[in-house]
């Protein structure tokens, strides 16, 4: 493989992951939940959150393929199911119907690093689904296959880079950036939600046509 296409694929993975992980929404939650903590403890929470999320995501990235082989699920079937799951989570982002956070009692423990921050906010079902989907082809359109140690290494490396970027974002925002206002969070949530909707429609459509449920119109 030539380096250009490796960089291109890695860039795609990174773009997908950053859309799925919704860094700004996670950041808003982190800032909100750790409001009353001293600075040192907040940084600690950020660190633990990122470590746990990267652990969860890498675990699923490495075991994902095995699940499907064991359970006998075909790629198109998972594309359709996963696409619908992603669509729902995109819909929640666009319409802001995710009441999970709003209704949570404000229990300020150290525990928040693992739940709810790492799971389900950062490494939630949608992100895990997305990682499974990435393994059914380079990119969600599934034009190239995913196999061999090289693709695994690339995917794991991109996951680590994405979480590292998020960690940097957390770190510098906690250390006192006041640029994070509600409008910025809302804007990023809405627009990434919209992108997620488009991506998931594409996934479902390619799953439907790949499954043979519906023949595609042949081009003249």
């Amino acid at each position: 493989m030539d380096p250009i296409s490796v960089i291109y694929i890695a860039g795609r993975y990174l773009a997908y992951l950053l859309i799925l992980l919704t860094p700004l929404a996670a950041l808003a939650a982190l800032i909100g939940l750790t409001k009353d903590m001293p600075l040192k403890e907040r940084l600690h929470v950020a660190r633990v959150t990122c470590l746990v999320s990267v652990g969860i995501l890498l675990f699923f990235a490495l075991t994902g393929q095995a699940f499907f082989v064991l359970l006998g699920i075909s790629t198109p079937a998972f594309k359709i199911a996963g696409g619908i799951i992603l669509f729902c989570s995109g819909m929640n982002m666009v319409l802001h119907r995710d009441k999970d956070l709003d209704d949570k009692p404000q229990n300020v423990d150290k525990d928040i690093a693992i739940t709810p921050l790492a799971f389900p906010l950062i490494a939630g079902p949608a992100t895990i689904t997305g990682i499974f989907l990435l393994q059914s082809g380079s990119g969600f359109d599934g034009q190239a296959g995913f196999s061999g140690w090289f693709d695994y290494t690339l995917l794991c490396a991109t996951i680590t880079i994405a979480i590292f970027l998020i960690y940097l974002l957390f770190h510098f925002s906690i250390k006192g950036a006041e640029w994070l206002n509600e409008t910025a969070v809302k804007l990023s949530e809405r627009l990434t939600g919209l992108l997620l909707l488009m991506i998931s429609v594409q996934v479902v459509a390619s799953g439907i046509f790949a499954s043979g449920l519906m023949p595609a119109i042949p081009t003249p």
Partner: protein, 221 residues
């Protein structure tokens, strides 16, 4: 000079038709029966800023951005269609617009009111939808020289400024509408929105079948 002038006029007309100016304004006003004129204009201001930003982003990155994420204009159509359908369906089914106001009143005491139409659906996909983006990309490609390319961007700004002014007049005029009329138009625009949404989905679905067949053909070869 004359060709540049006609380019400007044509671009303006394209934007006028593609954003559906005349349908977006009454739809927005009837979607927000409980808003005061100031609240409407505040929402519209945010929406126009976002719409200009999104449109410029897509015009400048063109097809590359879509290709990079492996999505197509057709999946945008379907996604936008489903989104609009859900919103229109909610408008048809909700008991009374005034109920919504009460509910929103309670929840808006928490951080951020949940009824916020500015970014979605007003800016994207109602103002700047797939049709508007693809028409704009085409118009920019048709610019004959550098001057016309600059003119294109000027036209985008002029158009949205005009859009804003139109909105301003419309939302001031809406003060005179009776609650009965507003309630009726709320339901009616719910119906219009769901029908529009299904049309979006049909168009997108027909398109996506063709493009995926082409992709499958490439893979076989």
């Amino acid at each position: 000079m004359i060709s540049a002038f006609s380019y400007f006029i044509e671009t303006f007309a394209t934007l006028f038709v593609a954003t559906g100016t005349l349908s977006v304004i009454p739809l927005f006003i009837s979607m927000t029966p409980e808003y005061s004129a100031e609240e409407r204009m505040k929402t519209v201001r945010t929406a126009i800023f976002v719409a200009v930003g999104v449109l410029l982003f897509f015009v400048l990155t063109g097809q590359y951005f879509f290709d990079f994420l492996g999505i197509s204009m057709d999946s945008f159509r379907i996604a936008g269609g489903i989104l609009i359908f859900v919103i229109g369906f909610d408008m048809l089914r909700s008991q009374d617009p005034n109920d919504n106001i009460k509910k929103e009143g309670i929840s808006s005491k928490k951080a951020g009111s949940s009824k916020d139409l500015a970014i979605t659906p007003l800016a994207v996909p109602m103002m700047v939808g797939p049709g508007c983006i693809s028409a704009s990309i085409l118009r920019k490609a048709e610019a004959a020289n550098q001057f016309e390319t600059i003119l294109f961007f000027v036209c985008v700004f002029v158009f949205f400024a005009a859009f804003y002014i139109l909105f301003h007049f419309a939302s001031n005029g809406a003060k005179w509408l009776r609650p009965m009329v507003l309630r009726l138009s709320y339901r009616l625009s719910g119906l219009v929105l769901t029908a529009m949404a299904i049309q979006f989905i049909i168009d997108g679905f027909l398109g996506i079948r063709v493009s995926l067949a082409a992709a499958a053909k490439l893979a076989v070869q």
